[in-house]
């Protein structure tokens, strides 16, 4: 079982994809160039403060809005280890898994945790915070395989060794 510890950045409900990466920065050449503008309409300072291994904790419907895949990519490029939210919008959920960004659902952590605090995640089992344990469920195996490979494209190539075209 994988375990990691990280510092929490706390966000609210309905964090939409235009917040995660606004339209005006989508024309930038790479996700790396977009990353400094992540979350800027809501928290302009956030992208510069997030350190590799940090964890985003949020409320309901995280990632609602457009299908822009740059949203989970920017979060990953910022070095965020995982997002823990009450719930996710479905397109964002698929996009995050497909890009190898770990998403965890938990209903209560966002009410208890304070920004800057440290939490420990035991993947598929629990989140440990302030002496309390918050149970989390395991992702289905097919999604875990994608995550572990580092995303859907890499998972396809890993499965057959040569690429998606040979899967038929």
């Amino acid at each position: 079982m994988e375990e990691f510890t990280g510092k929490v950045w706390l966000l609210g409900d309905d964090i939409d994809t235009d917040i995660i990466i606004p339209t005006e920065y989508l024309a930038l050449k790479s996700v790396k160039e977009m990353a400094p503008y992540g979350f800027c309409p809501l928290r302009p300072e956030l992208a510069s403060k997030i350190e590799p291994g940090d964890i985003i904790v949020a409320g309901k419907n995280f990632g609602c809005g457009s299908s822009r895949e740059q949203a989970p990519e920017v979060i990953k490029a910022l070095g965020v280890r995982a997002v823990i939210a009450r719930s996710y919008a479905r397109i964002f959920f698929r996009n995050a898994i497909n890009n190898g960004l770990l998403l965890i659902e938990n209903d209560t952590l966002c009410d208890d945790v304070k920004e800057g605090d440290t939490i420990t995640v035991r993947v598929g089992e629990s989140i440990e915070y302030d002496g309390r344990s918050y149970p989390i469920s395991a992702l289905p195996d097919n999604l875990l395989d994608i995550l572990e490979a580092g995303g859907l494209v890499k998972a396809m190539q890993k499965l057959n060794g040569v690429g998606a075209a040979d899967r038929e």
């Binding site: 939409d16 235009d18 809501l42 809005g65 299908s67 479905r90 497909n98 995303g151 998606a164």
Partner: protein
């Protein structure tokens, strides 16, 4: 136990007799639509595959609609990449022809199909009895290369409509009201199915408007039954044949059923910065606006332009207000031209733009500045969606937007006395 429309379409695409909500199935896709929002990313990933191959080029439809015409060398480069790739690989390609979902409804979507679109509002295709759902560019790539994908069969929320919308109240007010009622994630992972006697009173334009916006309640797709209205629309648009016309079985499982009397719906707006932040227009009457937008895949059809023009005829856009009118497709533009609607808009002081997504997604046209307010028939009002992070977007119907453009402040057409 019977099946819902969503289950029947996935069963067809999976080659199964029966599927159930909660199952995961491997499916064959009928079409894969992608636009200039993310196609360049798909191409980059495709070119990095060890053995890139397109399963069936005839299933791919690529549409440049988000930045039209181009606003910068960067978007020009990404569109060139898309254009060149489409030409080299024989992929159907459109640019300047309209908003992707409008083109798909006019030219491709047929009842019973399962369609992936690399755009969240792909759920619009339910108006034609097809299961359309939005995906990201990686899922798109997988479909492009394999011809298929995996889907989780959704539970269905059913909306049973009765009665008729009152004069001055539109399908846009209906779907905004529903989103306000169930919330921005009220239909997350679900299909929203619309049935009932009330459906007969709704045009294809109304139906596309309703299905299109269901993603703002988190829905995976929206679905409607095929009827005379659907068949007439198909006949008038190239005579496409349905793949299959499905209805939910009487004993199908619905997670929840809502009964809605259309005559009870009032003109509403979504206030900044959430699409489920719904209030009667009368609650915000008097809010000053800087810009009004009539267009988008949600409300840029000929019926919307007729409604706007009927209100604007003989009147003027308020001083210091920019009114952008953006037909959703070339077909709509030409119809509006033929009917003299564009004359009415231009004479009143509106700006008639080329078919494209325009300020709905805050890119190449009509972007608003800090402290400015836009009233829009666009799809979203998220913080910064239409420009500066410190701007404000209200969403409303074509009638409310046009009346507000005349008044220079938010007002319903009824209150302004222009119906």
């Amino acid at each position: 136990m019977g099946m819902t429309i969503a289950e029947k379409i996935i069963a067809r695409a999976a080659g199964k007799e029966e599927v159930r909500a909660g199952d995961i199935h491997t499916v064959t896709l009928d079409y894969l639509m992608s636009n200039d929002g993310t196609t360049h990313l798909t191409i980059d990933m495709y070119n990095n595959l060890k053995h890139p191959r397109i399963a069936d080029k005839d299933k791919l439809v690529w549409i440049v609609d988000h930045n039209v015409p181009c606003d910068s060398p960067k978007t020009a480069a990404s569109q060139k990449k898309m254009r060149d790739f489409a030409r080299e690989n024989g992929i159907a390609f459109y640019e300047g022809a309209g908003v992707c979902h409008q083109i798909m409804c006019e030219k491709y979507v047929a009842p019973g199909q399962l369609i992936f679109g690399a755009d969240s509002h792909t759920c619009a295709y339910g108006a034609l009895g097809a299961f359309g759902t939005g995906v990201g560019c990686t899922d798109y790539l997988y479909g492009m290369v394999t011809g298929g994908s995996w889907v989780l069969v959704p539970e269905t929320l059913r909306f049973h409509l009765t009665g008729r919308l009152r004069r001055g109240v539109t399908a846009r007010d209906l779907i905004l009201t529903i989103i306000g009622q169930i919330g921005a994630n009220g239909a997350n992972y679900h299909a929203m199915e619309f049935v009932g006697e009330g459906m007969k009173t709704l045009s294809m334009s109304d139906r596309i408007c309703i299905c299109n916006l269901c993603v703002e309640a988190g829905a995976k797709t929206a679905l409607m039954e095929v009827d005379e209205v659907t068949m007439e629309y198909l006949a008038a648009h190239g005579g496409r044949e349905p793949a299959a016309c499905f209805k939910s079985d009487p004993d199908a499982h619905f997670e929840k059923t809502y009964d809605i009397d259309l005559s009870s719906i009032e003109p509403v707006v979504a206030k900044p910065h959430f699409v489920d932040n719904i209030a009667p227009v009368s609650d915000v009457t008097g809010v000053k606006i800087n810009e009004a937008f009539l267009g988008s895949c949600n409300n840029g059809r000929i019926e919307d332009l007729r409604l706007g023009a009927s209100i604007l005829k003989g009147r003027k856009v308020a001083d210091k207000v920019r009114f952008l009118v953006v037909p959703a497709s070339r077909e709509v533009y030409l119809e509006a031209l033929e009917e003299g609607l564009l004359d009415i808009f231009m004479e009143a002081g509106a700006m008639v733009m080329n078919p494209n997504c325009s300020v709905c997604w805050g890119s190449c046209q009509g972007v608003i500045g800090a402290g400015e307010t836009l009233i829009s028939t666009g799809t979203r009002n998220f913080k910064g969606r239409a420009g500066d992070k410190d701007s404000f977007v209200y969403l409303g119907s074509a009638a409310t937007v046009t009346a507000s453009a005349i008044a220079g402040e938010i007002v319903s057409a009824d209150e302004l006395g222009v119906l």
